[in-house]
């Protein structure tokens, strides 16, 4: 049987996620409670528990190729229900930040019609910029 060496699969970006989120990705034991409660799960290309598993395996690129972190609403159901106390929402934010800090915004104001902008509450505009732009 082939052995997996954790030091070989750990990468720079995985370490960055750990630094940004301050969470221990390895404590996840795949119970799936985060995905069960996640209101955005139907819109995500990966389920939150799959994100955790891929992180453990150092496959950050595989996660960043998907829309998963950007479909997150930061509702904190995952974080509050995790039996291992992992702040999954903070991991999602760290994944977003890795993308955003590479100057890859997920949102452009010019795509929004002036009618919609006019009726939008300020907390929506600020929240969108904070979460989806660098």
């Amino acid at each position: 049987m082939e052995k997996i060496n954790i030091n070989e699969i750990r990468g720079k970006e995985q370490a960055k996620i750990a630094t940004l989120s301050l969470e221990n990705q390895y404590s996840c034991y795949q119970c799936g409670k985060c995905s069960a409660g996640c209101p955005s799960a139907p819109f995500m290309e990966l389920l939150p528990n799959q994100v955790l598993r891929l992180l453990q395996l150092g496959k950050v690129e595989r996660i960043l190729e998907t829309n998963t972190a950007f479909a997150c609403c930061s509702c904190f159901v995952c974080s509050s229900r995790c039996p291992k106390g992992i702040d999954v929402a903070a991991i999602m934010e760290s994944l977003r930040q890795i993308t955003l800090r590479g100057k890859n915004d997920d949102f452009e104001l010019k795509n929004i019609s002036s009618d919609i902008l006019e009726e939008s509450p300020p907390i929506l505009l600020v929240g969108t910029f904070r979460k989806l732009t660098s």
Binding site: D106, F107, I112, I123
Partner: protein, 297 residues
């Protein structure tokens, strides 16, 4: 009249003015004056979740510093998002000495030093503190017959450090609404997200969430949804038109702030309930339930 420091936030002053007007009027009846901070800025709306992003903690912390500067030790908010952001930034300052020092260093020109010594509370907590008996005494119009779905959303309950009540089975909202004589319904989506800031980038998510939440409230027998967050209000109320566009036959439902419901039950006039500012008027359903005997039209 007892004064309490009040942080309004941007949305309260723009699309959620009916929240503020009704809350001020209700508290006045309860002998409390909301003392708005003389200087305040946007709190940043969402609490920063990455460890190195200290810059975005400055706005909420600086607002709390202003409370202290004006001699306050407690601040109340109406908006659930402001509540959450201020509350968590405050906890960060209290718990993380290293980050607190960094934040202080950024604000070295401030005359007052901030150490997390202002208490952040939401209006629902303030009402509980005032005392439900005292509120009950102000009820001039019993809202019996009206069935209400109390929608908590996320920011009053999660994460646990910011929760104003039990995180999974909260009841503070129902307790307050029941004081008016209205009947609250149990509905399973009361603390599930409305889609939040995804409205602009992923309106499809919000359409599905709004449809699910309102259909659930309706199936539970509710006439109306009552909530506390201006972003939930936008998604669940203003965005119903998008749900109708996508789902033929979807039946909407009025959505109001809990302070408007209290103002109605306190017998306050239309200039305090401000139902005219709701996108979907609750007047028809309130009339049907015989609750517009005063001038609340």
């Amino acid at each position: 009249m007892k004064k309490i420091k009040y942080y309004p936030g941007c949305t309260i002053k723009t699309t959620a003015q009916h929240f503020e007007v009704s809350a001020i009027a209700v508290l006045e009846k309860l002998g409390i004056e909301l003392d708005e901070l003389k200087r305040w800025t946007c709190c940043g709306t969402v609490y920063s979740l990455t460890s190195d992003d200290i810059m975005h903690q400055l706005a909420p912390v600086r607002n709390l510093l202003r409370v202290k500067e004006e001699g306050g030790s407690e601040v109340v908010t109406l908006c659930s998002m402001c509540y959450n952001t201020l509350k968590r930034a405050n906890l960060l300052v209290q718990k993380d000495i290293e980050k607190k020092d960094k934040i202080k260093d950024f604000m070295y020109k401030e005359l007052v030093k901030y150490d997390g010594d202002v208490n952040v509370i939401h209006l629902l907590e303030l009402l509980k503190k005032i005392g439900f008996d005292k509120i009950k005494k102000q009820i001039k119009l019993s809202l019996s017959g009206l069935k209400v779905a109390a929608y908590y959303g996320c920011m009053l309950l999660r994460p646990e450090e910011a929760a104003i009540d039990d995180i999974e089975e909260p009841k503070i909202f129902e307790d307050v609404i029941n004081l008016t004589g209205a009947e609250t319904v149990e509905f399973p989506y009361k603390n599930e997200c409305c889609g939040s800031y995804q409205t602009l980038r992923r309106p499809d998510i919000v359409i599905e969430r709004t449809r699910t939440i309102i259909n659930s409230a309706r199936a539970s027998g509710a006439d109306i949804i009552v909530l506390s967050c201006p972003l939930c209000s936008f998604n669940l109320e203003a965005k119903q038109k998008d749900v109708v566009e996508k789902y033929f036959g979807f039946k909407g439902m009025p959505v109001i702030y809990f302070s408007q419901l209290l103002a109605l039950a306190f017998g306050l006039d239309e200039d305090k309930t401000r139902f005219d500012l709701n996108v979907i008027s609750p007047v028809e359903i309130l009339g049907k339930r015989g609750l517009l005997i005063r001038n609340n039209v």
